[in-house]
């Protein structure tokens, strides 16, 4: 008898929660759209909900912002753009300012999730090098929604000594990652778009390709490469390369300062060099944006303005070590850093580079399926 009661109760709860979740899915993204900061304009709130990548700000900067403005910052972290998106979309937690990457910003714009930034409140935007405002037009055509924060490239990191031992010349292009002598010595990026970028660029295609034939060729290339790959990793490329685990690895340029420091600190008997592949690569840009349902929009703009201040941007650059698009901050750096080509490459070496664009859900799932085929092969 007791058992029956339990079963009934469970069934009832199930029905209720099913109904509940349907409701949520329907009105999730829509709510909050109309209740943004505009209505509360007079009584300025003293809170700011920030949603950022891990290890992507100098914590002292947050304290300084709080002291200066009296705004209390609630700071949350995400690890991938894909993880961040559904949270903003569902709107259960309303963040005031978020820091996604290029293609994800485009997706958020297209799905009407972002509010336009009132640049009157962000005078320091003038500190951002116009070149990057131009670059961000790839995903934000009118520069209405985003404030550039960090940028960088993806390239090949190689261990000079290990390559010598293997008798392989230092890589200069993506195609070098298909060299059979490098069997078991390659670290690839474990993310769909980055992995396909390598394969597409190798054959001279656009990394934003939607062409079935080009994608098929890239898929085959990745399958051919798989036996040579030691592992598909993301953040571990850095530590594995420092540990001498592999000869070459695909890596984000922002890691280079840390890597060079570590190699020097540990007194290793090999050097790690970074090269921008000749076929061109992914040029990425992370920007601050304001979700449409933000409750403290003006505070978010204060935050953006604060981060664009040259001294602040410099402090952040020193902590994150990813290149800053902030011209004022760049001018404050040492000559040696300014001339570090793996961090601030010459603009003419970036000719073939592209910025990821959002290809739509359907193409995204084609990429995902192809990637699964590569992985399960």
């Amino acid at each position: 008898m007791k058992k029956n009661v339990m079963v009934c109760g469970m069934a009832a709860a199930l029905a209720v929660s099913l109904a509940g979740c349907k409701g949520m899915a329907l009105d999730g993204p829509a709510n909050g759209g109309g209740t943004s900061a505009a209505g509360e304009g007079k009584e300025a709130s003293d809170e700011l909900y920030v949603y950022n990548w891990g290890e992507y700000i100098d914590e002292d900067v947050i304290t300084q912002f709080e002291e200066e403005t009296g705004i209390r910052v609630v700071y949350d972290l995400f690890e991938t753009n894909e993880e961040m998106y559904p949270i903003i979309e569902a709107g259960a937690v309303t963040y005031d300012v978020v820091c996604p990457s290029d293609y994800m910003i485009q997706k958020m714009v297209e799905n009407d999730l972002l509010a336009e930034v009132n640049f009157d409140n962000v005078p320091n935007i003038s500190q951002i090098d116009p070149a990057y405002m131009e670059m961000s037009k790839a995903f934000d055509p009118e520069n209405k929604y985003s404030v550039p924060y960090c940028w960088g490239t993806v390239g090949i990191l190689y261990n000079t000594k290990r390559l010598e031992e293997l008798g392989v010349a230092p890589p200069t292009k993506w195609a070098d990652l298909w060299d059979e002598k490098l069997s078991g010595e390659i670290l690839m990026q474990d993310s769909v778009r980055d992995a396909f970028m390598v394969a597409l660029k190798k054959d001279g295609f656009s990394m934003n390709s939607t062409d079935a034939e080009e994608l098929g060729q890239a898929r085959q290339a990745l399958i051919d490469q798989k036996p040579l790959v030691q592992a598909y990793v993301i953040d571990q490329v850095r530590d594995k390369m420092i540990g001498g685990e592999a000869a070459v690895g695909v890596i984000y340029s922002g890691e280079m300062l840390y890597i060079q420091e570590e190699v020097a600190n540990l007194g290793l008997d090999y050097t790690l060099e970074y090269v921008l592949p000749a076929e061109g690569t992914n040029l990425w840009l992370d920007c601050w944006v304001i979700p449409k349902n933000a409750k403290n929009k003006e505070n978010a703009e204060k935050w953006m303005d604060f981060l664009c201040r040259p001294e602040i941007a410099k402090a952040n650059f020193e902590y994150i070590t990813y290149p800053t698009p902030n011209k004022g901050a760049f001018d404050l750096l040492d000559e040696e850093l300014k001339n570090n080509k793996s961090i601030f490459p010459d603009t003419d070496s970036l000719v073939n580079c592209e910025v990821f664009t959002y290809l739509g859900d359907e193409v995204d799932s084609i990429y995902n399926d192809l990637w699964k085929e590569v992985k399960s092969n």
Binding site: L18, Y85, V229, D364, N368
Partner: protein, 270 residues
């Protein structure tokens, strides 16, 4: 009345953290991106990549479960025969690593197995050729066995402890030799523990994605990895939930097996 009130926190817990999430999985699993009802997510288990991943997961977790069983049974016998004091100390030693985070312990294996890792370091000291240990199916099995072995030992140990010494003595008195005692007395009486141990190892091994990511270098795609990627990278919660529903069938099946063989809950681990 007061009894009901006391039960309320548990009921809220169950509804909030078990039933509603499960219902959400069912909801997502049986709808498409457009919100319409569909079986497509569940049926997609039949695509070649998914079948391959599922098959590999079943195969690897089966092997790990067998290894765990072979390692755990003699150990549980030894522990039981040691008597309460010393036996429980060894059990304690066995549980001790579980106080550390499972993720950390698996990452420690990475350091051990790496190309320039501890094991290869020792091998090269002994002038033996270095082995490529990490990023193989073997490394994943090792990780599964290492992480889930206590879940096999404890239920078997619990069941063996409950077997009365008199039963064994009676078997001996009646002329059974060691092998006969093992096969006819020990083993049949310990079946509930063995079954519960098997499911407690098999189910987490089948669904793991962390071990295969860390020790397999993401080169080996298990069904857990497929589901994880649909949620975190592919942003297709519907497909991820659909595949989870398929996995749930295996879990329900093993729960049914437990219910059949372990009627009194003797084999529960804790």
């Amino acid at each position: 009345m007061s009894k009901k009130l006391l039960a309320a926190p548990y009921l809220i817990w169950m509804v909030g953290f078990i039933i509603i999430p499960l219902a959400l999985i069912v909801y997502y699993g049986l709808t498409g991106r457009d919100g319409a009802f569909t079986f497509a997510n569940v049926v997609s288990i039949t695509t070649p990549e998914h079948v391959k991943a599922l098959w590999l997961s079943l195969w690897l977790s089966l092997i790990s479960t067998l290894i765990c069983l072979v390692l755990a049974y003699p150990l549980a016998m030894i522990l039981r025969n040691r008597g309460v004091g010393r036996g429980s100390f060894i059990v304690f030693i066995f549980i001790l690593p579980m106080w550390m985070n499972f993720l950390l312990r698996t990452m420690a294996w990475q350091t051990l197995l790496e190309k320039n890792g501890v094991i290869n370091g020792i091998l090269s000291l002994l002038r033996l050729p270095s082995q490529s240990l990490i990023n193989t199916a073997g490394a994943i099995i090792l990780g599964m066995v290492y992480n889930f072995l206590p879940f096999m030992v404890l239920p078997i140990y619990n069941v063996l402890c409950k077997i009365d010494d008199d039963t064994i003595n009676a078997a001996r008195d009646l002329g059974a030799n060691s092998v006969q005692t093992l096969l006819r007395i020990w083993f049949p009486l310990s079946v509930p523990g063995v079954i519960s141990g098997i499911t407690m190892v098999f189910v987490p091994a089948l669904t793991t994605f962390v071990i295969s990511n860390l020790l397999g270098g993401s080169k080996i795609l298990l069904i857990g990895n497929v589901i994880e990627q649909e949620f975190t990278r592919g942003s297709n919660w519907h497909l991820g939930s659909g595949l989870s529903l398929v996995l749930m069938v295996f879990i329900l099946f093993s729960m049914a097996v437990i219910a059949k063989y372990d009627k009194n809950g003797e084999g529960s681990a804790f």
